[in-house]
Structure formats: structure tokens, C-alpha cells
């Protein structure tokens, strides 16, 4: 599929010449041009993750209507529960029938790259127009220098904490270093407001903080050449650290699934956890004044930075993919482009209260990130995050390791005391090697 069209070449040239921000004068609009038109009489079926907040779906459908009105393309939007989205898109890829566009998960595009339409033109156009893609987007979106999916955004995870309890524990804010963070959690626990991070097979929450933990110490599942290197002194150091951190957790986190920490935080049982902006949103919009007070008393912070000296977070990523069986690839490309344009993206991001962090640099200026200072930590989610199989490639092996909770199980088995850090790292090494051997 490496066939650069005349239009691509033009656009790449235009991109190189321009440092783009739409939010400035808009002078750049002339340079980043989108000329492709949908096929005549085209109709599209779009599959996306079920709404998390009502505003997300409302604005998405409104934007879709706008697209229909402007292009005459009929679009049907279906939503799928988060858990079922991945199997559904996989089945569509396998049988060659289904939605034209899927807004899927993580590295889905790397599981069936040859079934996807090359979207280099859309991605190049958007990158040029909106200040460029963040690095992690290129990792998720590109394969061998071609774009196979267009990242829509990332539901980011940050530290959620209760302001008054952190003060009570003797801290003004959440420390940005690991020893300080541990001290805060210990002090919180002493005051009866323990921390809590999911250690069950929680797809989003447990993967999120366990990867951060290991990466922040310099451990990682695989190196640049996809050699499994999880059994390292750095990993063991991370596991030694987590033993102490786990002692500050509320009991029961070994069984926590994704919703557990939301419930416990809103009930005032934990003072600190890692989560998307959903807890804050639920608290802020609650009918119950007691829960609304939690919204006033909570804030968000970046995860601490470990010895590696830079942020090491991982978040869900939503890539837009067009399947090759689609009869209307141009219409599909145009739809993806349309939804990413500022006129549509900005109001949608506002309506979803920043639940999705943006993939394009120019969107740093979206009003949602400053409308409420408590939103701001989520702004840089995609700027600083790493991809799930850091620092190796994305593909079958990495997806297998992630789905099998190898990282989470390693951390959990140390926390539960059933394995020493060294044994847990060795076991993880063995489990990961099963996937990477082929």
C-alpha cells in the first residue's frame, strides 16, 4: 500500500513549509488543504465507544448531522460497550463486513494493518493544520511510515485526590517524586484516608498505574528490538517500591475492577486514586449535595516522575480506522477529518468535559482545559504518555501480553505477598516470552 499520490506529495511539502496553528491568525488555512470529496451517494456506518458522558454523544451526533448536511453522505452511528468494542472490530476485520469506520482501542490497528485503508493523507493534513501530532500518536497511528489509523484522543488517567485530606496529611499538593508520593500515601493512611489503586484484572485502571509504576523506575516489558527485558533490577526496584506503597492502600484492591475506585472515592473511603476525569464529573453533576462537596474538595495531579526523569504514563487511546471493505473510503476519510476539525472538535471536547485528551498540539488551547483549573492536568495526557508496549513495537505480541495482564499480575502478586519481587519479575519474563518468541 505504499503509493504516495500527487496530493500527498503536495501536502507533505506544504506541511514542511508551515509551522501550523489554527488558533493564531488562521493564516495557515490556505496551506493545509483538503480537497478529497466523498463518493456520490455514499453512506457510512460508524462504530464508536459508548458514551461516557452524555455531552460526548450529543455533540458527536450533532457534528455528524452537520457532516451529513454539508456533504450529503448518510451516516449511521452505532455505539458499543467498551468491553465489546474490541471483539466487534476484530470480527469486522476478520469477516470483511461491518462498519466502515471503527473508533477502536489502543493498538487495534496494528492487529490487522493490511485490512485498513491508508489514511496518510488525512493524518498529514490534520497534522499540518493543527500543530502536529504528539509523538505517541505516530506510534499508534503509523506503520512503516504510513498512517493506518487517526488517533481521536485519549481518555487520560491522573492522580485524583481530596484537597483537605492531603493538607491534613501535611502536604500542599501531590509530590512529583516517588519517595515524596510514598510519604504522602503513608500520611494519608495514618489519617484514615488510605490510597487505593486497582490490582484486579481491570483493563483501564490497573494497566494504567502498573505500567506507570514499572516504567517510572526504568523497567519495561520489551526493549527497542522487542526483546523481553522485564526481569531487570529496575523492575525489581519498582516492585520493592510497590510493596511499601501497597501497605498504604485500602484493603481489597486486589479484587478491584475498573469501577471500584470510583465508588470508593465517591464514598469517601479513599483519599487518593488514579482515574480519568469521570469521578470529578460524577461528583460535580450529582444530585446529592454531599457528593457535590467532594467535587469541591478534590483535584487532579500528574503521576509522580521516577528515576527515569520524565513522565511515564499510559492511557487508553482511541484510533479511527477505515476498513478496506468499505465502499466509500473517501467519504470515510472525510468524516474522520471533519470530526477532527476545530469547528467540530472544540465543542465536542467541551461537551465531553475533557474526558478525551487531544492528539494534536494546537488543541492545547482548547478552552475546556482552562475553563476549570481542575481539568488542566488532563490537557497534556497525549503529549507525555507512552504507548502500551514501550519501548518495543505494537502488534500481536504486545496485544497478547497486555490482554493477559502480565504487568498487572506481576505487580499484584508482589502486593498480595504470594511472590517476591525477583520471582514475580522472572515469572513475568517467562509469560511475556511466550508471546514474543514467534
Amino acid at each position: 500500500m505504499i503509493n504516495i499520490t500527487r496530493r500527498d506529495t503536495l501536502k507533505i511539502g506544504a506541511g514542511a513549509a508551515a509551522g501550523a496553528t489554527l488558533f493564531g491568525t488562521g493564516a495557515l488555512g490556505a496551506e493545509a488543504k483538503w480537497e478529497s470529496k466523498p463518493e456520490k451517494g455514499a453512506s457510512l456506518r460508524v462504530l464508536r465507544p459508548a458514551k461516557f458522558v452524555q455531552g460526548d454523544e450529543t455533540l458527536w451526533l450533532e457534528n455528524t448531522k452537520k457532516f451529513e448536511a454539508q456533504t450529503g453522505v448518510k451516516v449511521r452511528v452505532d455505539s458499543e460497550g467498551w468491553e465489546d468494542l474490541r471483539p466487534k472490530s476484530a470480527v469486522a476485520a476478520n469477516v470483511g463486513k461491518g462498519p466502515d469506520i471503527v473508533y477502536g482501542w489502543y493498538d487495534d490497528a496494528h492487529q490487522y494493518p493490511e485490512k485498513l485503508v491508508d489514511v496518510t493523507d488525512v493524518a498529514t493534513y490534520l497534522g499540518n493544520k493543527y500543530g502536529g501530532w504528539f509523538d505517541v500518536c505516530k506510534k499508534y497511528g503509523m506503520r512503516r511510515n504510513r498512517w493506518i489509523s487517526v488517533p481521536l484522543g485519549a481518555p487520560g488517567s491522573k492522580i485524583n485526590y481530596r484537597i483537605s485530606w492531603v493538607k491534613e496529611a501535611g502536604f500542599d499538593s501531590v509530590p512529583r517524586d516517588l519517595p515524596g508520593f510514598l510519604k504522602l500515601c503513608q500520611a494519608l493512611k495514618a489519617k484514615g484516608h488510605p490510597a487505593g489503586f486497582a490490582l484486579g484484572n481491570a483493563v483501564g485502571d490497573a494497566n494504567g498505574w502498573c505500567h506507570w509504576l514499572v516504567w517510572s523506575h526504568g523497567g519495561k516489558m520489551v526493549d527497542d528490538k522487542d526483546n523481553v527485558v522485564i526481569n531487570s533490577p529496575q523492575t525489581v526496584a519498582a516492585l520493592e517500591y510497590v510493596k511499601e506503597l501497597y501497605a498504604t492502600f485500602i484493603p481489597g484492591t486486589l479484587s478491584w475492577l475498573d469501577p471500584s475506585n470510583n465508588k470508593a472515592f465517591l464514598d469517601g473511603q479513599v483519599g487518593l486514586t488514579g482515574n480519568g476525569i469521570s469521578i470529578y464529573y460524577a461528583a460535580k453533576t450529582s444530585q446529592d449535595p454531599a457528593i457535590r462537596r467532594i467535587a469541591d474538595d478534590m483535584d487532579h495531579a500528574q503521576y509522580p516522575i521516577g528515576p527515569v526523569g520524565r513522565p511515564t504514563e499510559v492511557n487508553l487511546v482511541v484510533p479511527a480506522m477505515i476498513f478496506k471493505y468499505s465502499k466509500f473510503p473517501n467519504a470515510a476519510k472525510d468524516y474522520i477529518r471533519f470530526m477532527m476539525e476545530e469547528e467540530q472538535y472544540a465543542p465536542w471536547a467541551t461537551a465531553s468535559i475533557g474526558y478525551f485528551s487531544h492528539p494534536l498540539a494546537a488543541y492545547d488551547k482548547l478552552p475546556i482545559w482552562t475553563a476549570d483549573p481542575k481539568h488542566t492536568p488532563y490537557r497534556d495526557t497525549m503529549r507525555t504518555m507512552q504507548w502500551t508496549s514501550y519501548s518495543g513495537s505494537l502488534g500481536y505480541a504486545s496485544a497478547g501480553v497486555l490482554a493477559d495482564f502480565v504487568m498487572v499480575n506481576m505487580v499484584a502478586s508482589v502486593c498480595s505477598g504470594s511472590k517476591s519481587p525477583k520471582d514475580a519479575a522472572a515469572e513475568a519474563q517467562k509469560r511475556a516470552e511466550r508471546y514474543y518468541k514467534v
Partner: protein, 314 residues
């Protein structure tokens, strides 16, 4: 013209009739729909699953035949072996409890009591509620922070801290087995109740005249008479329990640290979210020998005639 056509029609009809008169043809035709359904909806998926288990198929990419590679790799995989252990433990403990309690419940329901029909209907409730709903209910009941059981016990002052139902391997296994038993008892009880009601009261009368006490009547009349239906119910119950998926998936996802992963949940986790269709199919296929063994055991083990008639096997 019209007459001619009609006559032709009649003649053709007669040959067809002659053909249909043939017993072999007729029976073949009658079996065709059922056979076709079985072939399409049972044999094909099963065959495909078994075939996939011998390939390295990934989601979105057809695989190549790799022989026993998946199985060799699985038998060196501690998580798979753990899931086999969990499945056997889960099935055997849950089945014994379901049958013990189910039989007891059936005997109780077999007595005459007020509101008999109503009570019998109520007993079926756990079985009628969709599994996912009851699974979510149990998820709350076992929640580390919001468990109603822990709440009540703490309020009563019997314990100080909430019970970690799902956080410790053995506690989690026991909790899931309890949920499965709660769901499975009505099925066993109602089936056995049906069996109990087919036993003629005259047998009990005869036994009583011979001086048999309650235990002896149960041991030498009820149990043998119940055996045929017991073996059928046992087969079904073992099959359902062995292949259980929803309860586990909704309550623990196989955690903590894979302590409650059953073969079915592991097969799904590897095949669909993990993309390793071939390996997932191999895990599912690995369940078949266990299921065949369980079926054969309950058929040949429990259905032996002599034993049913109160005699001993040679």
C-alpha cells in the same frame, strides 16, 4: 390442454409418491432438517474450533497449521495449568454442593405443605434471573468496600474489618463457587423433584410394611429410583458448570492474579482481547476431553441397571 397437463402432473406425482413410499428415502428425508441443523450449528463450529486450535491464527490474519504447538506451549504455561486446576475444583465442589443441597430441597418440596405450587415456583427464581444480573448482584455482595454481608457483620459487632471476599485466592474461589451453587440449586432441585414424583407411593408403603425406617426407604427406594434422572441432571449440571463464563467474567475477570480463571474465561481472554485466536481455540478444545469424560462417567457410571434395581454390580 388443461387435462393433459393435469394428467402429466398426476403421473409425476405418482412416481414421487412411489419414491416416498420407500422407507429408507422417507426416513432420510425426515432426518434431513435435523441433520442439517446439527451440521451447520454444531458440527461446523466445533470442527472449526478444533481446527483453529491446531493453527496460529490471529485476529485479522489467517494462520497456518502448526500441529500440536499450541498445546505444547499451553502445557508449559503456568496460567493455563492454574485455570485447569481452577476449573476442576470449581466444577467438582460446586457440583457436589448443588446436588447435596438440591436433593435436600427436592425432598423438602416433595412433602405436602401449604402454598406448595407457589413455593415451588419461587424456588426457581435464582435460575430464572439472567446470569449477568445475578452476577452483578454478587459482585456487590462481595465488594471489598460495599459488601452487605460485611456491613451487617460489622454492625452486629462480630467482625471489625470488611471481609476481603475476592482479594484472596481461596476466598475468591469459595465466593464464586457459592454464587454458582446459589444459581444452580433450583435446576437440580426441580429436576429431582420431578423424578421424586414419578416414584410410586406403593413402593414406600411396601417398604414400610417390611419395616424399613426413613433412612432405609431413602437409601433403597428413593435413590435407586432417582438414579436415571440423577445421571441426566448430573451430566447437564457438570457441563454447565465446567463451561461457566459469565459469573467469573462479571465478578472477578479471573483475578486476583488468575486465581479464579476458568478455562472458558482464559480462552476468551487470550482469543478475543488478546487476539490469539488459535491459542484461545486450543484452550477451548482442551475442555472437550474433560467434558466427554464427565458425560461418560455419569452415563455409564450411574446408569448401570443392576445398581438401579438395588442390586450390586458384579
Amino acid at each position: 390442454m388443461a387435462i393433459l397437463v393435469q394428467r402429466n402432473g398426476v403421473r409425476r406425482g405418482r412416481t414421487l409418491l412411489e419414491l416416498l413410499d420407500d422407507r429408507r428415502v422417507l426416513s432420510f428425508l425426515f432426518m434431513l432438517p435435523a441433520g442439517g441443523l446439527l451440521l451447520i450449528f454444531l458440527t461446523y463450529p466445533l470442527g472449526l474450533g478444533i481446527w483453529l486450535g491446531f493453527t496460529d491464527t490471529k485476529i485479522g490474519r489467517p494462520g497456518i497449521f502448526t500441529g500440536l504447538e499450541n498445546y505444547v506451549s499451553l502445557f508449559q504455561d503456568s496460567v493455563f495449568l492454574l485455570s485447569v486446576f481452577n476449573t476442576i475444583l470449581y466444577t467438582s465442589v460446586a457440583t457436589v454442593l448443588k446436588f447435596g443441597l438440591g436433593l435436600w430441597l427436592a425432598l423438602l418440596l416433595n412433602n405436602s405443605m401449604p402454598f406448595k405450587a407457589f413455593i415451588r415456583a419461587i424456588v426457581l427464581l435464582p435460575y430464572i434471573v439472567p446470569t449477568v444480573l445475578s452476577a452483578i448482584a454478587f459482585w456487590w455482595i462481595y465488594d471489598a468496600q460495599f459488601s452487605i454481608i460485611s456491613y451487617v457483620l460489622v454492625e452486629l459487632g462480630w467482625i471489625d474489618t470488611y471481609i476481603d471476599f475476592l482479594g484472596q485466592p481461596n476466598a475468591a474461589r469459595a465466593s464464586l463457587i457459592a454464587a454458582n451453587v446459589w444459581r444452580g440449586i433450583p435446576f437440580v432441585a426441580i429436576c429431582l423433584l420431578a423424578g421424586l414424583q414419578t416414584i410410586s407411593p406403593s413402593l414406600y408403603e411396601a417398604a414400610a410394611i417390611d419395616g424399613a425406617n426413613a433412612w432405609n426407604r431413602f437409601r433403597h427406594v428413593t435413590v435407586p429410583m432417582l438414579m436415571p434422572i440423577l445421571s441426566v441432571v448430573l451430566t447437564f449440571s457438570v457441563l454447565f458448570t465446567f463451561t461457566d463464563f459469565q459469573l467469573i467474567y462479571a465478578i472477578t475477570r479471573g483475578g486476583p492474579v488468575n486465581a479464579t480463571h476458568l478455562m472458558a474465561t482464559l480462552a476468551f481472554q487470550r482469543a478475543i482481547p488478546g487476539g490469539q485466536l488459535g491459542e484461545g481455540a486450543a484452550i477451548a478444545t482442551a475442555m472437550i476431553p474433560f467434558l466427554i469424560f464427565a458425560t461418560l462417567f455419569s452415563y455409564y457410571g450411574l446408569q448401570r441397571r443392576k445398581w438401579q434395581q438395588g442390586g450390586r454390580d458384579d
